[in-house]
């Protein structure tokens, strides 16, 4: 783990230094591209509703933690060896990076651009709500913020039967709800039954009802799930749900839970078993949590934690600068000015996010992208280095394969075809399939012009700039592309509902597990995210193999092979892997942003402390 950590911090240093170095070249490259740095545009866009929570699509994941697809067999189906070791000294999840407590008391103010929707973990569908809920509530298991493996939280240990059907969890016996009541196995049963009840409004009802046959309290501190069939993602996807107290919600009609005082945030009613307890929610303004002294991992160091809603991202970055906020995620464009502030540490970390554009492969919509040569040509024609340095200020990486950088299946060495910027090759490829330049400089074939529209969501300045530059670069190889922007919900409806597009560009987020079935498998054309109707039996086969393989190295190989096929076919082109950027005031200690538990990793929130 310490190895992992040093890899991480080195990575962060590299990226920070790298980004500041490349910043100077940004303007130059921008000028080459014919880009004027759209300062006004970025300010304007910042005023619009530009909520990344809303418009980064979580491909694989639920509201909580990144998901694992039904193949994840990294876990031996036996007792996990990750149990916390009873040691005298502090056993922080962040190991060597843990800083001994230098001060007790004080508060941390966290800035968020959107407000929460609910305080009920069963109902939460958005990252802001889940991020706050994770501060005051706890789950059986969490995904480790650094290794992304399952890690005990309320369950001290667990046992999975050899056939993968029975999951038995042994709960800690020292856990109390914020009103002093003991947490028992009955609360676990209640939480999952609430999830599975049709009237509650949980977005997980169908999946859980499908997977779980029964959930029972064997005794006060043992709970047993019996599944309908072996579903290896169960542990890392479904056992990370936060618990709700039966003694508060047990008598409430499931249909009334959403509007219950517990869900809308009420002091003394909205209780969890985490290090902080709910105190106040002034909507669109702030949410206050105060420490819970009897927290089972020890009394938290800070007195209170406040989430403050700052809807404008530029202002959010400025407030980190003025010290009005202690912690907050910022955009690439604000990196430089914030990094110049001595009292702010800017953390950068690799994420599971990616930007991609999809070719419409449904012949009934367009026949332009039927040949792989055409799809390859368009990707060769894009100078992605320049895109990232000009638009993302160099913060992010050109995607080599389809695997995100932090994934254990990330294997750039195994990727055969690299799409380095090569407009000549692009032209050759287009010539080879009969698309030749017409009188107006746009390629034609059989009287058809190579002209299409690309959709992206309005208000996301980065994507808007991406499509604008792509238009320029494709123009150079004689391809006409017209950018269209659309309001987020309408755009979603277009790409997932009506599928009325020739091409679209959007950002997604993979789950922690590398099983990218939802985008590449033929079955994912309906109900999944294969929105452009890609189908390749070889890819389907490989995905099937990966499902049945438990060994990580073998799986990595299979996924590498799959990526090589996809990179030949290029049904969708993954352009880049952006990085997360979180500003943390230097007075805050032991807070380590990563991409696993939202941006601030509240799993060790009791260890956070602030200077006097």
């Amino acid at each position: 783990m310490s190895e992992n950590l040093s890899r991480f911090s080195r990575k962060i240093e590299d990226e920070v230094l790298g980004a500041t170095m490349t910043r100077r070249s940004v303007i130059r490259k921008g000028a080459v591209l014919g880009l004027s740095m759209p300062v006004a545009a970025s300010i304007l866009a910042a005023c619009e509703d530009d909520d990344p929570d809303d418009d980064v699509v979580d491909v694989d994941d639920d509201d909580d933690e990144p998901a694992v697809e039904p193949d994840d067999d990294d876990e031996e189906p036996v007792d996990d060896d990750d149990e916390p070791v009873a040691e005298e000294d502090v056993d922080s999840i962040f190991g060597d990076d843990y800083e001994p407590v230098g001060n007790v008391g004080g508060q941390i103010v966290y800035g968020s651009f959107s407000d929460a929707a609910t305080m009920n973990p069963v109902l939460s569908q958005d990252t802001t709500s889940s991020g706050i809920i994770n501060m005051f509530s706890r789950a059986l298991v969490i995904n480790h913020p650094l290794t992304t493996e399952p890690h005990p939280q309320l369950a001290e240990s667990w046992d999975i039967s050899d056939d993968g059907i029975e999951y038995t969890f042994n709960l800690r016996e020292d856990v109390t709800w914020h009103d002093g009541e003991q947490l028992t196995a009955q609360d676990v049963v209640f939480t999952y039954e609430t999830h599975m009840h049709e009237d509650t409004g949980s977005p997980r009802t169908a999946e859980l009802t499908d997977r779980i046959d029964t959930v029972e309290a064997v005794d006060d501190y043992t709970v047993q799930f019996t599944l309908n069939f072996p579903a290896s993602p169960f542990l890392q996807v479904n056992c990370i749900y936060r618990l709700i107290p039966e003694h508060i919600l047990g008598d409430v009609e499931p249909a009334d839970i959403a509007a219950h005082d517990y869900s809308i945030g009420t002091e003394g009613v909205t209780i969890g078993c985490g290090p902080f307890q709910f105190q106040e929610w002034v909507s669109d303004d702030h949410i206050t949590l105060v420490k819970y002294p009897d927290y089972y991992e020890g009394e938290p160091n800070i007195d209170q934690w406040i989430m403050r809603v700052v809807p404008d991202q530029t202002v959010l970055a400025q407030q980190l600068g003025t010290g009005e906020l202690d912690v907050g995620s910022i955009q690439e464009s604000d990196f430089e000015s914030l990094d110049a502030q001595e009292h702010v540490n800017v953390h950068m970390y690799d994420t599971f996010n990616f930007t991609f554009y999809a070719y419409q492969l449904d012949e009934e919509r367009t026949t332009l992208f039927q040949e792989p040569e055409v799809r390859q040509a368009l990707l060769y024609a894009l100078d992605r280095e320049a895109l990232i340095s000009a638009i993302r200020f160099g913060i992010g990486e050109v995607a080599t394969g389809t695997m995100p950088v932090p994934s254990w299946a990330y294997n750039p060495e195994g990727i055969e075809r690299h799409y380095d910027y090569d407009p000549d090759q692009a032209r050759e490829l287009l010539d080879s399939v009969g698309w030749v330049e017409g009188d107006d400089g746009i390629r034609e074939r059989d009287g058809e012009r190579f002209s299409f529209e690309i959709y992206t969501n309005a208000g996301n300045e980065i994507r808007e700039q991406y499509v604008a530059v792509m238009q320029e670069q494709w123009r150079e190889i004689g391809v006409e592309c017209t950018p269209q922007t659309e309001e987020w919900s309408a755009f979603l409806d277009r790409i997932t509902g009506t599928r009325d597009f020739e091409m679209f560009l959007v950002g997604f987020s993979w789950g922690v597990d590398p099983h990218q079935e939802t985008m590449w498998h033929t079955d994912a054309q309906e109900g999944g995210f294969n929105m452009n109707r890609y189908s390749n039996p070889d890819v389907d086969d490989l995905l099937g193999q990966a499902l049945a393989t438990t060994d990580r190295d073998e799986r990595t190989e299979i996924y590498t092979e799959m990526q090589n096929i996809i990179l030949e076919d290029v049904p969708s082109a993954i352009l880049d892997f952006p990085q997360g950027i979180v500003g943390v005031n230097t007075r805050v200690h032991n807070l380590f942003p990563t991409d696993v538990d939202y941006d601030t990793n509240s799993s060790n929130a009791h260890e956070w402390w602030v200077d006097e």
Partner: protein, 322 residues
């Protein structure tokens, strides 16, 4: 007069019905729904999305939903937010004071600045002052709210702090963690109110100036002067009063503009008001909140117009309402 007001109040009813029908139809016919984001959540299966939709009552035909909503409204029930499940009326009433405080302060600020400047510029036509005032007014109309807001934050919050000067807070209605005493709240109010007042001030200054110039040319002004009245009496009692009359209408018309401006200003200054509520509700397709705010804001705007008409009659004895 009483009958006039009553008639106008009764006229509000069909107007409101029209407004709500149009808004309801528009809000619902736009693509997307409160469950749009769930459609992209692989953990949520299509049957979950369908069930949650049905639980929210979104499966009913549009006209049925409208009548359900309208009949509840008549009984004073604005419904629950589709996103937070809190009562819409509670949500609105939490925000309304913030917005009224902000727009009210902006209105007062705009009047306090625009009247003296406009009048003085008119009296000293073509003087240096007049030219500066005109230039300032043009600039004021041209400067967008969001830009001015960001610049003010940059100067008065960020730079002032760096220079060790007393900085203004860059957002919120009061310091979090404290109740917020009067001074603290005033500090928080200064920048957003100023930004919101800025373009109105500019527009009104120009308007008052030209009105005043118009009035100064009138015969009655000359007769007043000929009567031997003192200059300031002529200017203020005869001139200003006549010049300001149309301003009453202008102010009433300005109310919706201020609400519109509040959308941007509230976003920049993290001000939890109605403007932001509308924006968030619209982007999340929280239909009940959209409808609730539309009703409340429409009523406010209609009442402001009514008030303007009444004021007009009070200020101008020539006007009589039957």
């Amino acid at each position: 007069m009483g009958r006039f007001v009553l008639r106008r109040l009764i006229q509000m009813i069909p107007l409101l019905i029209g407004i709500t029908i149009i808004t309801f139809a528009l809000a619902n016919l736009v693509p997307g729904s409160p469950v749009s984001n769930l459609e992209l959540d692989p953990g949520a299966r299509p049957e979950d999305v369908a069930r949650i939709r049905a639980n929210l009552g979104l499966d009913e035909p549009l006209h049925v939903r409208y009548f359900v909503w309208a009949s509840n409204l008549v009984q004073g029930d604005f419904g629950l937010s589709l996103r937070t499940h809190r009562p819409v009326l509670t949500i609105i009433l939490e925000r309304l004071p913030n917005t009224l405080l902000l727009t009210g302060t902006a209105l007062v600020l705009a009047l306090v600045f625009s009247i003296p400047v406009g009048v003085y510029a008119a009296l000293k036509r073509n003087s240096i002052f007049d030219q500066f005032a005109t230039m300032g007014a043009v600039a004021g109309v041209a400067v967008p709210n969001f830009w001015l807001g960001l610049m003010m934050i940059l100067v008065f919050s960020v730079m002032f702090r760096e220079w060790g000067l007393p900085a203004l807070p860059s957002g919120g209605t009061h310091a979090i963690g404290t109740g917020g005493d009067l001074l603290d709240r005033v500090k928080h109010l200064i920048m957003p109110a100023f930004v919101l007042a800025f373009s109105a001030t500019a527009a009104w200054t120009r308007y008052i100036r030209s009105q005043m110039i118009e009035v100064l040319r009138q015969d009655y002004m000359r007769s007043a002067q000929a009567k031997g009245l003192k200059d300031h009496i002529v200017t203020f009692r005869h001139g200003l009063r006549n010049a300001l009359l149309p301003l009453v209408t202008l102010m009433a018309l300005e109310v919706p503009t201020l609400f519109g401006g509040a959308v941007i200003v509230e976003t920049i200054f993290s001000w939890p008001g109605i403007g932001r509520l509308i924006i968030t509700a619209a982007s999340q397709r929280d239909y009940t909140v959209i409808m609730g705010t539309v009703v409340i804001v429409s009523v406010l705007v209609i009442l402001a117009n009514l008030l303007a008409d009444v004021m007009y009659a009070v200020l101008d004895p020539r006007i009589r309402y039957e």
